[in-house]
Chain length 235, copies 2
DNA sequence: TAAATAGTGTCTTTAAGACATTATCGC
DNA sequence: GCGATAATGTCTTAAAGACACTATTTA
C-alpha cells in the first residue's frame, strides 16, 4: 500500500490514532484492548485504534475511535508520541499517533463490546508494536500522577482519601502509608476538602475531596525549579 | 494538495520532521532557525524541518534534515510530539513530528549557513505554529535536565562543575548557588569525577567530571516513587 | 463494647537553601 | 602577597517516611 501526493512527495499510506486507555480495576492498573477483526493480525489483541480522516484533529479521532469501539469516551486524553518506523506495519508506511486516555473504571464494564480490560503486567500477545506503546502510556501516567492532576481522569468528581490512595497504589504498584499519602496529596495543592463526608459501613466516615482544577494543571510543589530564588535577571 | 492511498483511505499529504535544536549560547538558551526559501511563508524564520521519505525512521529524517540545513548533527535527539491539526498548514493536511535536538554550542557557529541562533525568549515572527513547538521543546528540556542525563547533549565529554552550572543556568533561567549545585548534581548519580583537573588562568584548578552514562538515563534520585518501601506484592 | 475504618500528631531521616571558610592557581 | 576561581563544611528549614494514637461509625 503506497501513497503519493499531488506535489510528488512521498506520503504515508495513512495515519492512525492509537489510544492507550488505562483504568484501575480491582486494585491493579488495566488497559483496554480489542480483538483485531481484519488482516493483518486478525484475531490478535490490539489497542482500539483506527485511521485518521484529515477533517478532524488527532485527539478527536482518538476519542471517536474509542467511542466507536467501546461505547464510551475517555475523561482525559493526552498525546503520548508517534510511532513512525516504516516497517512497523506490514501494510506499508503507516505511522500511529498514540494517546493516553483515562477513564473512571466504574463507567466502562465491558458491556458485551469487543473490548476487554487486561492487567498491564499480564498482557496477551499483542499486534504490531502495541506492547511498547502501552509501556510508554503506563510510564507517562506513573510519572505524572503526583505532579499533575492527571488523576482527574481516574476518580469521580468527589472522592475520599482512601479512595484516591487505592487509585494511586494501582497506578504506581506500591503501597502508601495512609497518613503520609494524605499529607502528600493535600500539600500538592491539587485537591481541596469539600466539607462533606460519606459513611460506608462500619468505621469513621470519610471526608470528601475534589480537584481544585479539572483542566490539566501541575502541582504547586516545586518540580525542581530550585536554585537560589534570585532568578537570573531576564535581560 | 491531497493524497489517497491505494486502499482508498484518506492519507496525509505528507509528514514532516521538525527539529527544535537548542543550545546555550552566551549564557542563554538559543534555538536554531532557518529562513524559509519556498512558499508558503517564504522569507519567514522557521524550524529546519522537511518531509519524511518513508524509507527511514523519523529520527533519522530529523537528523538528516538538520545536517542538510546546518552541516552538523545533534548530539541528542528525542521526540517531542506530533502536531496534526489539518488546518495548521495552508498546503493541506501535513502533520509534523517534532523533535528536541541538543548540540554542544561550541560545535555549530553559523558558518555561513542559512541557520541562525535566536534566544528562546526573543524570537522573530515564526512560520506556522513553530513558536508553540519551540515552547514545548524548551519546557521538555527544563523539565528533564535535573532528572535525566539529557545534558549529555549540551556538554563536552568531560566538564567542570562551574561549566555544567552555567549550562544548567542557561537552560532554567535561574542562578544556582555553586556549592548546592555541586551537591545536587553529584547526588543525582548521573555524573562522576574523572580524577583529572584543568587549570584555566588564575584560580584553583577545577575537577573534571563525566556522565556515568551517555545513553539516555534517569537520575537515581527518587522521582517520587515514594510510598512505604514495601512495594505492593506483584501478584 | 468490639471491630473496622478514617484521621491526627510526632519523631526521625534526608534533601535543599544560605552562607562562611578553605584551597590553589596566575601574577 | 593579592585577586580570582574552585571546593569544602555547616547551619537551618522543609519535605518524606515510620508509626503511635485518637475519632467515629456498624453490629
Amino acid at each position: 500500500m503506497r501513497a503519493v501526493n499531488s506535489a510528488g512527495f512521498a506520503a504515508p499510506a495513512g495515519l492512525t490514532a492509537l489510544p492507550v486507555v488505562l483504568a484501575p480495576v480491582a486494585g491493579k492498573l488495566h488497559v483496554l484492548l480489542v480483538r483485531r477483526e481484519e488482516e493483518p493480525r486478525a484475531g490478535m489483541w490490539s489497542l482500539p485504534g483506527g485511521f485518521m480522516s484529515g477533517d478532524e484533529r488527532p485527539e478527536e479521532t482518538a476519542q471517536r475511535k474509542l467511542t466507536e469501539k467501546t461505547g464510551v469516551g475517555a475523561v482525559y486524553m493526552e498525546q503520548l508520541q508517534t510511532y513512525g518506523d516504516p516497517r512497523r506495519d506490514p501494510r506499508g508506511w503507516i505511522p500511529s499517533v498514540a494517546y493516553l486516555g483515562l477513564i473512571d473504571a466504574a463507567v466502562l464494564r465491558e458491556r458485551g463490546s469487543a473490548a476487554r480490560w487486561f492487567p498491564v503486567d499480564a498482557l496477551p500477545p499483542l499486534a504490531f508494536d502495541h506492547a511498547a506503546v502501552i509501556a510508554d502510556g503506563v510510564e507517562r501516567l506513573r510519572g505524572k500522577v503526583w505532579w499533575s492532576n492527571i488523576a482527574v481522569g481516574l476518580l469521580p468528581e468527589q472522592f475520599t482519601m482512601p479512595q484516591a490512595r487505592r487509585v494511586f497504589e494501582a497506578i504506581s504498584g506500591v503501597t502508601y502509608e495512609p497518613s503520609n499519602f494524605r499529607r502528600g496529596l493535600e500539600q500538592s495543592g491539587l485537591v481541596r476538602a469539600t466539607g462533606r463526608v460519606v459513611k460506608n459501613g462500619p468505621g469513621r466516615p470519610a471526608a470528601l475531596y475534589e480537584f481544585v482544577d479539572r483542566q490539566p494543571a501541575w502541582s504547586t510543589r516545586r518540580s525542581r525549579v530550585p536554585a537560589t530564588v534570585r532568578a537570573a535577571e531576564t535581560s
